[in-house]
Subunit: 375 residues, 4 copies
């Protein structure tokens, strides 16, 4: 099969190049880039020397010659290419935010400052989180070409983490308390263009929050929770999302605080809890851990950590895994779910390849089976 | 004045050496260490070569020859030295957890596995957080020798951050929701002894949580909030505390989620909030920022960040500052306060020196006025 | 084929596990570890969860059940296992220093403090640097079981870098000047055991030399150069080797200064050269670059950089490549060759797998064809 | 005294601000910046909040109001300001390369692409390396206003390292071998402007050389060695200089290889040396270490390391020290001197302040006595 990548010269695009160049079902790549047209991918990324080579052509040539098209363009520029692919009846997997809100144009516009140019595309596009939408993706893809809105990096882990809590009634739907998501990301999420935020001397050996209470992934996360809530027949949770920049290249760790429903709460041994966790908390935690393990037992890329093993970004580096741990807080009232992903893989390019595997009926691990690194 | 340090060879001890060696009021240091007795501090820490020199003697010699004694020993070994100093009527500033719980031996024992050997000392010891206890410290120190329980690194920032929220009624005392503290620390907090957790290849370029729902600083934070609550006449808040290890040497950033009381809440423009923050949220945030600025206007080491400037650990590196920012979450229901400190300075040695300055009536900035680094 | 790894629980051993678990020709692994006997590899290295699983048995069981055996044990303990494998007539690939000096026991003893227990093994063992000894390895392996002494991490790059200079007469054999090798390595080379040198707070954000003028890889490098010199019929070069520790997890960069022979020297435009490099230097450099490209054109894992592109450790991360650049110094008298490898792959486990591929007649890139990362 | 800084908004300028704001003899600062005119220094560098405040005015205002002027402007723009200061008869300390070559305009032009606009200034300017030119600086400054050409970051350590070797005849003046300087620097040397080279994802966790055989500090180093050679009456050494970028924020470590003269050489125990260093090498090394210690005994900022302690950049962080170690290579023919400095302090701003102290007859440690950090 021939895979095309529009916008192959940015970090997400280049990561896609790397994954697809090693994908058994892909025999050839067609790559485009506006900034580097006429150049070669291995000149921009010398790590590819001797291993991958590719000329950067025009986006139109990518669409004309591919069996599936990925777009790693910035927001608000990819719709025409999506439309062209639907015309050609080939699947289009978009890594921007353009197709992540289904037809909720109000929210998309409010945060990204643009409107839908091809509204009808958004009625049929599918949010590409396999753990949530696999069935829908398979179903529609069997009948027609689809536009996949590949999830944002930050929303991926929390969405996978919260899904069981909503569907299995762990989350207290009566609570006025928002679900709080506190995340930390490495620098590659900022992309290839140099900027002060990612200037080594400015961010190395240091940690800081950014876009507090106003990050664009906030509505995407809330939107996903709403979809889960609707399926389960419960109200939509409120969401608080706080991102932090951490001095590492790859990885996102998200610590999620979910108020527990009555049946799952544990009475603390003191109030406020000032003594170490009780046996009851340990047992309830183990129960929840079993529930999560069972909920995700068929998911190829979700690993529920054993007791007392916490997710760590280095253990999912360069892999498509989402690692998850569960704990109950010391007061017995809150479920603490922690996730770790590689922002470039499960948070972007790996997830896109996973979606392609689903679209074409390949084993989902095809091209994504690299064994995670030691470090 | 002669200052003595027991346990000078660990990281906190050595940081004390550095600060006190440069302190205008300290003419001489007497240092002790069990592991390195007979050695010299500049041989353990060659950064001191040519700048600081000191022989490591016995703890008894430190107590005998000093005007004030600092102890940087591990937990549960320092009480006898505290007792000896009270005998000699000299102040004793302890960096371990031994004197952080006042006379609440139950909590201390439950987490640290030891009991008080000198219970009466704990009735009179004072928790050394100046922003909370300055008046009490000055008062008692004017009459007699005191034992100061220097705060833990993690509890310092959150305690300073939450104090105004409790005292000024921003915190919703009727809420069943705990105050959530999500923190990230650098590696120096782990101390000088090599271990797998801080082995470079294991923790570099990676982020992970640890001791989720069971960290020993949890009860200390809850205890501090109780003290503030009691002063204000409100119930004690529940606390959730989650630490993470971040690949940086120094620094702790804490993101604190405090449910807002009715008068401070803002109605979101949508529920759940999926649109960018409203003008009302911006204005209320500015009001809270002014409240915090006013609350801490006389504090020499608390800096409230201007709007849209977030705390960052590199900006407080090697300084005794605690930087703070305030935001209201997008749903209008939660106050997000973020703090950054240097775990070795305001989180340990710097705070100890600040306490010494208070005890002896020096200007609080004495020996702590180094201008924070660029990076 | 069944591959066995003795000492699978250290870093080099675990890296071998990862590479062999993904090797198309290896259907099963048998792993042993003294420290963790009875445990499982995925419990020591949770990155392997869900991807690789293996019980840690006794070394004897590894030898009894495998078709090829790798040893990642410390120095001076592996010889009996090598002997046992020669008994069973199966190849033995040793990652320690024990078989790197052929039969020069004097040098080995002087640096490693042990003597050969099985001297006859060392008469027939082969130094496993494919770029130097491929022919010999193939030849002997076709007839009998061999012991391969896998090269040390530091010696690998410089040996590959200097080989063409000696063989093609670039090196001035009449010079009294040593070949100077200035290297910088990441921390994983130090292994899995925590120690002060690799304690995060001690080595992060800092650079320092170590074992100056006395590192054990020094004689190994000199020994390799002697082998090359003997083949070419020139005297053996003197070697100076200085290692440095750099705050990165993987990688070794080596900068090598080789005095140029008369025919290759360029007369500087000023003496001492204080003006920018002349056109003549640029042209001669290009000539040498072509010579190196040609010399290594059939080597699957040596990449000669294009002009003005320098090796960088991040571009060979997780790959078996050795990247090389060549320059002539500004005075026209010295060839500066710079190499970059991943110390765990081409500097250890990857090279061992490459040797296995040669021993068994597989394409040398089998199991080593992962496309290098962006970062 | 009032100190003025032209170009205060770059890294070197801001580091000067920090040092001078804490300098006992400086009562006020006047700061200018073209990019940020009208702004305030604490808005560009929030670490200064509450500690330092300053409006950014025009360069002319700095010159008009100061008693001493520092210029941290880029190369080739500061001469007019130097001229203006000489007019006003106030000292001018320049951190650019403009005044580092005395009147050797040919070399300056060849590398920096500009010519001297005020040639006569360069006849009288002094290269501001105190260890080399203190006497000259004091002498001339006592009579008239001087222009100080503050040394480049890379040349500082090697110049201090090689000076004793040339002056005391350790260096083999008959050798055809260049003095080789292999250096590694942190990222702050690259300045405040974001660029691909210092984009976190591009340089973190990685090491690479750059500007091999063509770095602009090369001629400056050679020029310094010539000055030393001339004073000693020996020929000028040839210089090879290779810089590397290391993932740390501050620091430069330089490993320098100096061919030993006949009287200092040691006959190796084998040739090439493949056995560990001999007793003779150890003894000769100790002799050289005593020579260096004696040579620099009166220098306030040069620390010769004890035996077996190597310089490390973290031990000179934020300090004006230059740490030095000496070794003889295993072949007995080469003196290996290693230096570590903080590139922003002894490599730029600290050295400038040290020069100011000399110019005004202050104790040289004034404002530079911060005790080096643990980490």
């Amino acid at each position: 099969m021939i895979a095309g990548i529009i916008g192959a010269s940015g970090y997400a695009g280049a990561e896609l190049v790397r994954l697809l160049a090693g994908h058994p079902e892909i025999e050839k790549l067609i790559l485009s880039s506006v900034s580097f047209k006429g150049g070669r991918i291995e000149d921009i990324y010398p790590n590819f020397l001797g291993a991958v080579t590719g000329e950067l052509v025009k986006a139109e040539d990518v669409i004309a010659g591919s069996d599936v098209v990925f777009s790693a363009l910035p927001h608000a520029v990819g719709e025409p290419y999506a439309a062209a692919c639907m015309e050609r009846k080939i699947h289009f997997i978009d890594l921007s935010a353009d197709f992540r809100f289904d037809d909720d144009e109000e929210v998309y516009s409010a945060w990204y400052g643009k409107t839908y140019k091809f509204p009808e595309l958004h009625k049929k596009s599918i949010y590409g989180l396999p753990e949530l939408n696999r069935k829908k993706i398979k179903e529609i893809a069997s009948k027609e070409a689809v536009v996949i809105g590949n999830p944002g990096c930050y929303p991926t882990g929390p969405s996978i983490a919260v899904f069981p809590a909503i569907e299995k009634g762990l989350w207290d739907k009566n609570s006025s308390q928002p679900i709080i998501i506190d995340s930390a990301s490495g620098t590659s999420g900022g992309g290839r263009e140099p900027s002060r935020s990612f200037h080594y001397s400015e961010c190395a050996d240091s940690c800081a929050p950014y876009k507090v209470a106003c990050h664009r992934h906030s509505p995407e996360i809330a939107h996903n929770f709403s979809v889960m809530a609707k399926r389960t027949g419960v109200p939509s949770p409120q969401v608080i999302f706080t991102p932090h920049l951490v001095p590492m290249i790859r990885g996102i760790i998200s610590t999620i605080y979910i108020p527990l429903s009555g049946e799952w709460r544990v009475t603390p041994n003191k109030n406020p809890a000032v003594l170490p966790p009780s046996k009851e908390i340990e047992e309830k935690t183990a129960e929840i851990q079993r529930l999560y393990t069972d909920f995700y037992k068929d998911e190829p890329f979700v690993r529920i950590m054993p007791a007392n093993v916490y997710p760590s970004t280095n253990r999912v580096r360069h892999s498509n895994y989402c690692d998850i741990s569960v704990n109950i807080d010391i007061n017995g009232s809150t479920l603490i779910v922690i996730t770790a992903i590689d922002n470039m893989i499960k948070g972007a390019a790996g997830q896109a390849v996973q979606n392609m595997n689903i679209l074409f009926g390949f084993d989902e691990k095809t091209g994504l089976s690299a064994i995670p690194m030691l470090f």
